[in-house]
């Protein structure tokens, strides 16, 4: 079974991934799935009725607002980084957590690099499919690098101004 790095209670670990990514031109397989927003919109209702856990893959141009209604029913949002520097994914993750209170898994997929671990964790990602072969230890190292942060974000870390009080 494939794996992904999972962040739970501040700990990064490599855990088995029960989900199967199914692209739009592939046939559906059994079990829990991650499918595109388009496919979710046409087949999601049926898949959820079958009792499956369904994750939706969100591409950068797709807006999280579209998912607002369905968020309570889906287990996971896979936010795509077609390139590591497509920063729209950071806004998407942050809105999922802060604005929609999404508590399921928010997974970084695509060109996911350990250098960005700190930023990803701060905006609310809690699962990662690294493209650079990096390990949970390396993610933990990078994500915990900065002892202080200056802004409020989805991770609820106390910013410097709150630490100072």
């Amino acid at each position: 079974m494939p794996t992904r790095i999972k962040l739970t209670d501040g700990q990064f670990s490599l855990v088995e991934d029960p989900y199967t990514h199914v692209s739009d031109d592939e046939d559906l397989v059994r079990g829990d799935l991650i499918i595109s927003l388009t496919r979710f919109q046409s087949e999601g209702e049926r898949l959820l009725a079958e009792g499956r856990s369904v994750g939706v893959r969100l591409e950068p141009a797709e807006e999280v607002e579209v998912l607002a209604y369905d968020l309570p029913r889906i287990a996971l949002v896979a936010v795509a980084f077609p390139k590591f520097n497509d920063g729209r994914a950071y806004t998407a993750a942050r809105l999922l957590r802060e604005r929609y209170g999404f508590t399921g898994e928010v997974r970084a997929v695509g060109d996911v690099l350990r250098e960005q671990a700190g930023f990803m964790v701060r905006v609310g990602f809690d699962a990662f499919e690294p493209a650079d072969g990096s390990t949970p230890e390396q993610w933990a190292h990078t994500a915990h690098r900065q002892r202080h942060v200056y802004q409020r974000a989805a991770d609820r870390r106390a910013p410097a101004f709150a630490e100072r009080e």
Partner: protein, 551 residues
């Protein structure tokens, strides 16, 4: 000045340690250049023609003597004994070795400095009026808000991979010395009718390939709502700015495409959702403000007999005083501009020895405060008039008393093809040519305020679009040519210059400027600046003269 506390210091130390590891991984071959390039750029490290270039952030252009001495020493130890001040109030070192950069960043961090976000598609160093805290013109001290933005924007998790770079400038004075209207965001401090402090928010100005004077999207933003409003602007940009073409990715293109009104509406909508929870608490603003309130002024009279007598005895000092001093908010004090535009030298360059001299003088005469201007000069913002003669003598001895601030020889020039990997033509030698042409100070003063700005390529780091006379280097079949524009301004009367005519070969540029000046002197009425005359007469007389001359 703002003093870094333990948190600020640890933040810089952690970031420097991270970069050290990244450099080790690169040198060991664990990461490729393609992977490393964005990493080094996040720390202001470019690879240019001759070596690496390290761009050090000087937040809102404010330095203390200790910091300036460390910059001087880095220049001496790791570069060739000098540094180059930029149009974003930063300092560039042009001869840096990759292997030395971790040590350099540690040296910087030890004096509360860094190179974070001096490159990359992130929120860059916020620039501010170099006269902050010294000029009577200001509504409020913009450094307070610049420091708040520095902290908020540092390693911002959501806004570190924007469609393109993002630059913010703040002025507290109506007279704009920050080029706020050609920034991604320009903030102009205002006092509301009820006395509440706020900002006029200008978004989507810019230079480069498609210059724009930015429109105002909010007439009055209460100052305590600044951070949430910035967050709203950045979020709209991050989501909707173009990412398919780097030349169309700046926020100015989005604002122009949507129209300022619609862009403003989207920002308001997002801002309403964000709410005031994202703003900085008043206590934090008060803490930052406290750090800038510490300047202690003596109670003096407005006239200094020492200074007046010295001026009467020394024409050089009198000339320096005429051109390089600006009115201070306190009686008996003055703002002193130190020109980095000595005739024939590279605009914006200062040697390490000169930096040490300025640091010493700031300690002795300037309340430990040094500013960098976006026009690539330095400022001692708080000098007693009584001390000006001694200060002038010391500056003069160090080659730092060029009396040409705002005059024709006070040019902006980007490093151009002499250093920069992006440039198409050289900029510095053109500036040197022009400076020699107008080396006669009497003539320069007769001409008065005239801003020449030179860029070596269309990216416009030399701000040519907003020069009263702008000069853009282009490559025509392998030869350096220069395109002249007239009538631009980066100040409160911001405007994009219009093209004069066909590009000129390098050796014809300085003579053409001379011709333009002759036309101005012939046409000007009363106290008109070059820009005013141009705006009244239009391009025709200037164009005729330059190209008649060419035939």
């Amino acid at each position: 000045m703002y003093q870094y506390d333990t948190l600020d210091k640890e933040f810089l130390a952690d970031r420097a340690a991270e970069f050290r590891e990244q450099v080790v991984r690169r040198l060991a071959g664990e990461i490729t250049e393609d992977q490393f390039k964005p990493i080094r750029l996040m720390n202001g490290l470019y690879l240019q023609l001759h070596a690496y270039m390290l761009r050090v952030a000087i937040p809102y252009g404010s330095l203390n003597p200790t910091q300036l001495r460390v910059l001087a020493d880095i220049g001496r130890t790791y570069d060739k004994g000098y540094g180059h001040f930029t149009t974003r109030q930063n300092l560039q070192f042009h001869w840096i070795k990759l292997a030395d950069t971790p040590d350099i960043l540690d040296r910087l961090a030890a004096v509360d400095m860094h190179a974070i976000q001096t490159s990359g598609n992130c929120i860059r160093n916020t620039t501010a009026d170099p006269y902050s805290g010294a000029t009577a013109e200001e509504v409020d001290d913009p450094r307070v808000w610049s420091e708040a933005i520095r902290q908020w924007s540092s390693l911002h998790p959501e806004f570190s991979f924007l469609p393109r770079k993002f630059k913010i400038a703040i002025t507290g004075a109506a007279k704009d010395r920050t080029a706020a209207k050609v920034h991604d965001i320009g903030l102009m401090m205002r006092r509301g009718r009820d006395g509440v402090l706020g900002f006029e928010v200008i978004v989507g100005g810019g230079l480069g390939r498609t210059p724009f004077v930015g429109p105002t999207i909010k007439e009055f933003l209460p100052a305590n709502r600044l951070v949430s409003y910035l967050e709203a602007i950045l979020r709209v940009f991050n989501r909707h700015g173009r990412r398919d073409n780097k030349y169309k990715a700046r926020i100015k293109i989005l604002v122009a495409a949507l129209g300022a009104e619609e862009f403003g509406r989207q920002v308001e909508e997002e801002w309403a959702k964000i709410g005031p929870e994202s703003d900085l608490p008043d206590t934090e603003i008060a803490r930052i403000r406290g750090a800038f309130a510490a300047t202690a002024f003596d109670t003096l009279v407005n006239r200094s007999e020492v200074f007046e007598a010295a001026k009467a005895a020394d024409l050089g000092l009198a000339r320096f005083a005429r051109n390089n001093l600006r009115e201070h908010k306190r009686a008996g004090y003055t703002i002193v501009e130190i020109s980095l535009k000595a005739i024939g030298e590279t605009p914006g360059d200062a040697t390490s020895d000169q930096m040490d001299v300025v640091a010493d003088l700031a300690e002795r005469y300037g309340q430990n405060d040094i500013r960098v201007t976006h026009e690539q000069n330095l400022v001692l913002p708080h000098v007693k008039l009584d001390d000006v003669p001694a200060l002038y003598a010391a500056l003069n001895a160090a080659g730092l008393a060029t009396p040409n601030v705002n005059l024709i020889t006070d040019m902006i020039a980007c490093p151009g093809l002499d250093y920069c990997a992006l440039a198409n033509a050289r900029a510095i030698p053109i500036a040197q040519d022009i400076a020699r042409t107008f080396a006669d100070q009497d003539r320069a003063e007769l001409i008065g305020e005239l801003k020449i700005k030179i860029s070596g390529c269309i990216n416009a780091c030399g701000h040519h679009h907003v020069g009263h006379i702008g000069i853009l280097g282009v490559d025509k079949k392998g030869e350096e040519f220069y395109q002249l524009t007239l009538g631009g301004s980066g100040a409160e009367d911001a405007a994009v210059g219009s093209m004069l005519g066909p590009a000129l070969p390098a050796d014809r540029v300085a003579p053409a400027i001379d011709t333009l000046v002759e036309v101005y002197l012939r046409e000007r009425q009363g106290q008109e600046r070059f820009l005013d005359t141009f705006r009244r007469t239009g391009v025709v007389p200037f164009k005729e003269a330059v190209y008649a001359d060419a035939n």
